[in-house]
Symmetry: C2
Subunit: 468 residues, 2 copies
């Protein structure tokens, strides 16, 4: 799709190959170059995300499709010939979306596009009609006097900023996750947020929200950016505008899902683990292509390229496809619990969960004494366009709890400038993935896993200070 | 939004002003420059489309909102102080969208995003489940043997090409308007088309379709581009994939809508008319911003700038906001019929119905003997970025029948490269309009109308040969 980039990569590859050939023969470094070459010339990553989105599609944790996705993953990983393929149970709540309708009914009638936030309760079957209490941010809602909110529908109207890092999401997502509790504490009858998204599409962005024991549960929804603009324009004309909400989601107990795991057994240190991961579940309105079919494809294809090497790296490369990330990192938490005894053998972990944009940087979270050696080891990744970054990585959502448990992590930073245009919407579909960018990701993960699996630097345990 | 363009226009304006000042004083040409200056520095156009989309919103012909829109237009045109404001009845059918759901139910379950085509009948309440007969185009469906289609859901899978002119729409829209008849003639139980749109959004594009007497009526829908991709991917895996459709639109008789008309009375030839127009109705899923709130705003603001001139042009400038364009040019046809006797006094006509992209060219349909003089007269439009084009204009949908009735027309060509990303979808909202581009349109229509209203070239009647 971007031929100049392919050309650039090819020429870097040739430079790299030449350099390697004059310095070392059949060394791990040569293998790193071969891995890059194999990944960039392979369609495997794209074929995997195509298969997952077409043959399974949306796979909300706890839904029948979630189990179909688990079966898809078990079959796919088995057919790829990994040394081990297995699954581990994860208890997940069942939440069904139902319908979500909204409209302004005064001063004029205007239908709006909304979607329920994940975990929200339903409105009464007759809906809710109330005035709107608009706030610029969660913080503004937190500071509001209760009489401004009581009996009204709280509306957090914060725009999400566009950044390559996706950092705008972090600034605005609090309104989604915590808004219902804060609004209910002040007497709101429901909460609606401007979608946590950078697009101008008339689609609302879903995502998980939370209730809190002791605080009344109120319905929670997101509205599309154009609809939030419309509500603003109407509020300017009439601050007493009336919003009508109807939503029928259901919380239906619990189900068993699974973390699906595949391994390339290490040749000399098979008990030590380099963990590369993604999450198998998705939201229900798209087909889960960028979130996180891309990640599933990237780490699976990366491991397959290592599986296909004539000589396996020293440590085991473990692919974990986590269950139920979207609704609260449940697969990640279950893994950390189930593998507690084995965590000291986890050399390093990373998760791909930010779409399929090119990786431009690798950050780590390793002991400071090891950082320079790790950076040196990872330096061949630069031939794939990945620069060496900092030592403040979180590793990704499902591995974010591992540093506190002594496991080093890495974050392979992707270009996410358009990720929040599509994330958690019906627009999360296969066409949003650039096959060339996906292949670059596969190459980067393959290189990362291979290098770490052969590294001679001592990384574990990670000593994390109790202060941030 | 694009400061460099504003700067460019300003410098051209100064050049133009200097040129005019040395050549003629207080001439019509000076007024053309002043009109451009007034339009480019005014927010009126944007305020009008903001008002229409916020205070009225979707306004499907025949619906209650259609009448709200007519009242909005009457009030707005009156408040702007035009010399005359009036309305003329147009009979329009009433069609309600209802629900539209679709999913693949075999070999796997995949929900799809569809929308009913305007005018479609409903499916049975139990829906339709059938195999899919896929075709690359309407022509391929026309050539298919009936046994390939009988009992199946016909699927026309033609992609719409992106062009500045919008010409891709013309190549693919036949499947939407005529597909149901052709499919039914071969025994199809329903028809679904790939949306006539250039986007990759998971939104389907509606638009009018037709039945034909003597041919069975079958339900007709469009699916989004990502969903059409998905269906293709599934058909490659299983040509016997089953599609389930459920749609509940209703045809509910007829209602009275109105063409809403405003005039700037001509100073010396008040009975002669320069007609600039747009359509007031819209589809029902967006707020009708680019189609055709923009056009309503452009021609209304253009006429208002002429109304505000100290000396009015010779001919009357008539603004017509047509009823029911979307469902079959009903306002345009009603106007031509009601004004039949007056058509010889129509000097020239144009309609703005292609969004708010910048106007880059003006084409005309005038007698060849007058073409050079008309081009010379229109040449000051170049200072607003509008080049002189050809003499093969259609004038726009609602005036397209006028050339055959002896009325010259003009087409002010807009940059439509992204028009079919949003057209006829929920995404047709205010945020898609660039205020600076809209103002450039207002300036161009004001100049066009003013120049034509003062032109001394004889244009009428237009002699159109019976051969094309």
């Amino acid at each position: 799709m971007k031929p100049y980039q392919t050309t650039l990569l090819s020429s870097l590859l040739i430079t790299s190959l030449s350099a390697c050939q004059t310095q070392v023969k059949t060394s791990p470094t040569t293998d790193v170059v071969k891995l890059q070459q194999a990944a960039l010339s392979s369609q495997l990553g794209y074929d995997l995300v195509e298969s997952l989105t077409v043959e399974v599609g949306p796979r909300l944790a706890g839904s029948p499709k979630d189990i179909i996705a688990v079966n898809w993953a078990m079959n796919k990983l088995t057919s790829l010939g990994f040394d081990r393929v297995y699954k581990e149970p994860v208890q997940v709540p069942i939440w069904e979306r139902g319908e979500a309708n909204a409209r302004i009914i005064a001063p004029v009638e205007q239908p709006l596009v909304i979607t329920a936030l994940g975990g929200s309760i339903a409105t009464p079957s007759s809906g809710i009609q109330a005035q709107i209490a608009r706030f610029d941010s969660l913080e503004a809602l937190q500071q509001a006097r209760p009489e401004m909110v009581e009996g009204k529908i709280a509306f957090i109207d914060q725009k999400t900023e566009r950044h390559i890092t996706g950092e705008g999401y972090g600034k605005s997502v609090g309104g989604r996750s915590k808004g219902a509790v804060v609004a209910a504490q002040k007497g709101a009858v429901a909460i609606v947020i401007r979608s946590i998204g950078t697009d101008h599409d008339r689609m609302a962005h879903t995502g998980v929200m939370r209730y809190q024991d002791g605080v009344p549960q109120i319905p929670a929804a997101a509205m599309s950016n154009p609809d939030a603009d419309l509500v603003n324009a109407l509020l300017k004309r009439d601050p007493n505008a009336i919003l009508e909400l109807y939503m029928s989601p259901k919380n239906l107990g619990f189900n068993t899902s699974y973390n699906v795991i595949a391994e390339v057994t290490g040749s000399s240190k098979p008990n030590e683990i380099v963990l590369i991961s993604a999450h198998l579940d998705s939201w229900d309105e798209g087909t889960g292509a960028i979130d996180d079919g891309a990640g599933v494809a990237i780490v699976t294809a990366a491991a397959k390229h290592i599986q296909d090497l004539p000589i396996k790296p020293a440590r085991t490369v473990r692919v974990v496809l986590y269950a139920a990330e979207e609704i609260g990192l449940m697969g990640g938490k279950a893994y950390a619990k189930a593998h507690k005894a084995e965590l000291p053998l986890h050399y390093i972990a990373a998760e791909s969960d930010f779409g399929a944009g090119r990786i431009y940087q690798i950050d780590t979270k390793v002991n400071e004494s090891a950082f320079a050696a790790v950076q040196k080891a990872l330096s061949p990744m630069s031939f794939n366009g990945v620069v060496l970054g900092n030592n403040q990585a979180s590793g990704g959502p499902d591995v974010s709890m591992l540093p506190a448990l002594g496991v080093p992590v890495a974050s392979l930073r992707q270009d996410g400038h358009d990720y929040f245009d599509y994330h958690h919407t019906p627009n999360d579909t296969l066409d949003k993935i650039d096959p060339a960018a996906l292949a670059q990701n596969v190459a980067a993960y393959a290189q990362f896993a291979y290098i770490m699996a052969n590294s001679t630097t001592t990384l574990t345990p990670l000593i994390v200070s109790s202060k941030k």
